[in-house]
């Protein structure tokens, strides 16, 4: 009894001593509560017969409808197209956007001229800082019917007719992946290049003395040494798989580069949520559709984290 009192006193004493620090943190926690956790409460909309005219409190007072909207989405005429595009674009990005920085980092680390290496590297991550709006604007100058690529190819007679890269439904996926690689490759190279810089030089020297060629050294020394970093970045990428992997660019790309000509391949779940929710005002339905994607993402990241912890010992949490 008295012991509890003493520890209680100690607790408050400690709390008093770190009062300012607690204040700093609590300001952040209030922010977190308002802007992150309150919207999570709003997710109940997805299970309720809610209409915007009911006001905010209507979210809680309106009637429960269970999984009605989830069923509605599965039966939606758009369902197949949205799921197919979301999965296809995301998986294609994983296949192409993820390995490119690793390959590029290995190449840069093997480069002899340090000055040139630095120049290439610094320039290569410029696009990471540029907004997708500008990237979309640039790609318009390059890939539209009168864009520089078409003019060049037609003038040199490599093409008979200009191709409208930006409004062809068969080309949207390729464009999305290409632009994603262009924008983000240099950036993620930083992480891998730093990992490679940490590799012990003596390993390379010893292998060279034993007669291992450059390719062999890359394969048997460089790549295994950066495996933990690769695993961490891979978990991060898979955790945001349906957002577009490392860069999370699916939504912005689809919004900026999607048009009536390529909507068959550019419509994704996220743009659909935006469209039905904010343009058509069907809040409850849009919330339910959005929730499906967040839950799948959460399951993905938890599983990846678990598997990688078991296999390689590296994990996010």
């Amino acid at each position: 009894m008295s012991k509890g009192k003493v520890t209680g006193c100690k607790y408050f004493h400690a709390l008093k001593k770190q009062f300012s620090l607690q204040i700093f943190v609590w300001v952040g926690l209030i922010y977190l509560f308002v802007f992150s956790y309150l919207p999570m409460v709003g997710l109940v909309m997805g299970f309720k017969d809610y209409d915007i005219v009911d006001g905010v409190w209507g979210i809680f007072t309106s009637e429960w409808v269970g999984l009605k909207y989830f069923k509605e989405f599965v039966n939606d005429v758009m369902f197949e197209r949205l799921v197919r595009n979301t999965i296809a674009i995301s998986v294609l990005k994983m296949i192409f956007t993820f390995p490119m920085p690793i390959i590029f980092a290995v190449m840069l680390s093997e480069m002899r001229s340090l000055k040139y290496k630095k120049l290439v590297q610094t320039c290569s991550y410029l696009p990471h800082f540029i907004s997708w709006v500008v990237v979309a604007g640039i790609s318009f100058h390059f890939f539209s019917l009168k864009g520089i690529i078409n003019t060049l190819l037609v003038n040199t007679r490599l093409l008979q007719e200009p191709i409208s890269y930006l409004s062809d439904k068969d080309l949207y996926w390729a464009m999305a992946v290409f632009l994603d690689v262009w924008k983000e490759m240099g950036w993620w190279t930083i992480v891998f290049l730093a990992a490679i810089a940490g590799v012990n030089h003596e390993l390379h020297e010893a292998a060279a003395i034993d007669g291992a060629g450059r390719l062999k050294r890359i394969w048997h020394i460089t790549l295994p040494s950066i495996k933990p970093t690769v695993v961490i970045v891979l978990i991060l990428a898979i955790g945001n798989l349906f957002g577009g992997g490392l860069s999370g660019s699916n939504f912005e790309q689809s919004y900026l580069l999607g048009n009536s000509m390529n909507s068959e391949t550019s419509d994704i779940i996220q743009t659909y949520v935006y469209e039905v929710g904010l343009s058509q005002g069907r809040y409850a339905y849009a919330t339910a559709v959005g929730l499906i994607q967040s839950v799948i993402s959460l399951i993905l990241i938890l599983n990846c984290n678990f598997i990688s912890k078991k296999i390689s010992g590296s994990s996010l949490f």
Binding site: F35, L38, T229
Partner: protein, 296 residues
């Protein structure tokens, strides 16, 4: 140089050639698009729409820029962008570093729970519709505040900051406190000056996000006087998307400029600050970002 090259075996030579070719290609593909927009922005718009410009402007002009800087719509957008970047970044960096600093104390009561709350919020959220509802309830829709208030706490940089501050010897803070400094003064005068790499990284990233963001204008703001530069560029893209099928560029009356050529000037204005700043902060963010990604 030649002697060295002769001494190498074939495998070495092939690898060297492949690496230099590939890296040069990457360099070209990355830089040329920006260069191309630059020359287009200095070329007469109507002339540029004929195509065939690759290396230098064909009909040099400053009209695109003078049209950009005399158009109140663009000027206002530029002003709003600058304002939100300065205020938004200041607010966000202040809040984020303070929270990170508080959480970097291992003995902080409740630290574990706080951390769990932060990490959950990073991997799960309410989604766009509940978020919109919340902002409407708070009366933030259609105000300047929506640009700078809701996103001020950057949880990713809180984690980076915790890792950074943990490495600063605690004795520094303790000696300052013995000298009678308050917690906030100890932080401002002792800790912050030691944290340049972290703060610089934070400023760069938050600043770039503020500068580039167009999406919050698109969904939360209808008031045209609050349109940002990014948002205005987005509108041009949306309107030219229509002409992607019928290749006719909007031509303004009695002028050599087109919507597309002014757009090119706008893109240069939007890109230039970034090109000027990021190479100088490079040394900071390369180490700053590593703390975040390598931390277990």
């Amino acid at each position: 140089m030649l002697e060295k090259w002769k001494k190498k075996n074939t495998e070495d030579k092939i690898i060297d050639v492949v690496i230099y070719l590939f890296c040069t290609l990457v360099l070209f593909i990355t830089i040329y698009p920006f260069y191309y927009i630059l020359i287009i922005s200095f070329n007469e718009g109507i002339d540029a729409s004929l195509g065939g410009i690759y290396w230098l402007p064909r009909k040099f002009t400053l009209d695109n820029y003078s049209d950009f800087f005399t158009d109140t719509k663009w000027l206002n957008g530029l002003w709003v962008s600058v304002l939100r970047t300065v205020i938004g970044t200041g607010l966000s960096v202040m809040l984020t570093t303070l929270v990170a600093y508080g959480l970097s104390f291992r003995h902080l009561k409740g630290r574990k729970i706080y951390m769990v709350l932060i990490i959950i919020s990073m991997y799960f959220g309410g989604g766009i519709i509940p978020y919109y509802t919340l902002l409407r309830t708070l009366g933030l829709i259609n105000t300047f505040a929506v640009y700078v208030i809701p996103g001020a706490l950057n949880t990713f940089f809180v984690l980076v900051g915790i890792a950074f501050f943990e490495d600063i010897p605690p004795s520094l803070r303790e000696s300052a406190k013995i000298d009678g400094a308050t917690e906030i003064n100890a932080f401002r005068k002792i800790i912050l000056p030691l944290s340049k790499p972290y703060v610089a990284t934070c400023v760069l990233f938050v600043g770039v996000n503020q500068w580039n963001n167009w999406f919050d204008t698109a969904i939360f703001v209808r008031d045209k006087t609050l349109s940002t530069l990014s948002f205005l560029m987005m509108q041009v893209i949306n309107s030219t998307q229509v002409s992607a099928t019928a290749p006719e560029h909007g031509i303004s009356i009695a002028s050599t400029t087109t919507t597309l050529s002014i757009q090119a000037a706008a893109m240069m204005v939007a890109t230039l600050p970034i090109i000027c700043i990021y190479p100088f902060l490079q040394k900071y963010f390369v180490s700053g970002i590593m703390i975040g990604s390598v931390k277990e």
